[in-house]
């Protein structure tokens, strides 16, 4: 997927999913959100790998929840956007909007 500034395409999808999910953003709902929006099948592992990369870049922070029995005593890892992450998402959005404004109307497009 194409890169948007310092963000990769999949990274941007993950960050937007985090924005949509708010406080309930952990692996499973993030994967579901991306699958529902993009129609692509997404592995939970690739979500975690991307989140780890975003965390290293300082765009995302994480906290551990309480371990539960249904998860075999393992805690959920909740993720949130940092201020830097939010700024980068806004920047990517502006870039995309500007780019699309210069594109002639595509055949079959509803816009």
């Amino acid at each position: 997927m194409a890169k948007l500034g310092i963000l990769g395409g999949f990274e941007l999808l993950v960050l937007i999913a985090l924005l949509r999910l708010g406080d309930d953003a952990y692996g499973v709902p993030i994967a579901n959100e991306i699958e529902a929006s993009s129609g692509r099948s997404v592995s939970i592992g690739s979500i975690y790998i991307t989140l780890a990369r975003l965390e290293r870049k300082g765009l995302v922070s994480s906290t551990l929840g309480e371990p539960t029995a249904v998860r075999g005593g393992r805690a959920k890892a909740y993720f949130r956007l940092t201020a830097k992450g939010l700024r980068d998402v806004r920047q990517a959005r502006r870039t995309l909007i500007r780019l699309w404004q210069g594109v002639p109307k595509l055949e079959g497009d509803i816009v």
């Binding site: 592995s43 939970i44 592992g45 690739s46 780890a52 539960t68 998860r71 075999g72 805690a75």
Partner: protein, 216 residues
């Protein structure tokens, strides 16, 4: 019948080979989904995709480390092949006295299949895989996988040389083509598999590590 426990082998692999960062949460997510009705096939697919994605990400991010793992594997293959061949040559005069008596099976095992020497090499490669896993704890799946590819240049070289001998009619043991197939399988499949097995043995799960630390 569907149980509340997901496929054990998949979980065992996941706990050892998934990316280390937040591995426990990842395992918990998959377990939660499985218990909420996802199929065993879905679980296995997720495990494979997770391990594969981790391997690819680690190889992209740590190319030098991957080169090191290949070099470790390659050096081990060369040393072990040299050792087993030197051992075989030093024992050859003893073989000539047919210490196995009239046993045709023993003659084949020792002379054509070189089985004891192959076993020495296999054990050494299991140990090599174990060491690669221990030396690359944070990226062990990727490093063990690339380490397991290191016998392949030797396998290709052997194939080319053996092919030339066969074409020139210089292969002395025409009645033992099965031994040739055995050696090919050993080099292309057996040796890489030994490194993978050693890597899996060296890859303890975080739970095992924690329990060992609490015992000691």
């Amino acid at each position: 019948m569907r149980t509340s426990e997901p496929p054990r082998l998949s979980t065992w692999l996941l706990e050892r080979l998934a990316p280390r960062d937040k591995r426990e949460s990842l395992v918990g997510d998959l377990l939660e989904q499985y218990r909420e009705g996802r199929s065993a096939m879905w679980y296995r697919r997720q495990v494979c995709a997770t391990i594969w994605a981790g391997v690819v990400a680690d190889l992209r991010a740590h190319k030098l480390m991957a080169v090191r793992a290949v070099v470790i594997g390659g050096v081990a293959v060369i040393l072990l092949t040299w050792l087993s061949e030197a051992l075989r040559r030093s024992l050859f005069p003893w073989f000539a006295t047919r210490p196995w008596g009239e046993s045709e099976i023993l003659r084949q095992v020792l002379v054509y299949y070189r089985l004891p020497f192959a076993l020495i090499a296999c054990l050494g490669l299991v140990l090599t895989g174990w060491m690669i896993a221990r030396w690359h704890r944070d990226h062990r799946a990727a490093m063990v996988v690339v380490g397991a590819l290191s016998p392949l240049p030797l396998a290709v070289q052997w194939s080319v040389e053996t092919g030339r001998l066969l074409q020139a009619g210089l292969w002395p043991f025409w009645d033992f083509r099965l031994a040739l197939l055995f050696h090919a399988a050993l080099l292309f499949v057996g040796y890489p598999l030994c490194i993978l097995i050693g890597g899996l043995r060296g890859a303890r799960s975080d739970g095992e590590v924690a329990s060992r630390m609490s015992i000691s």
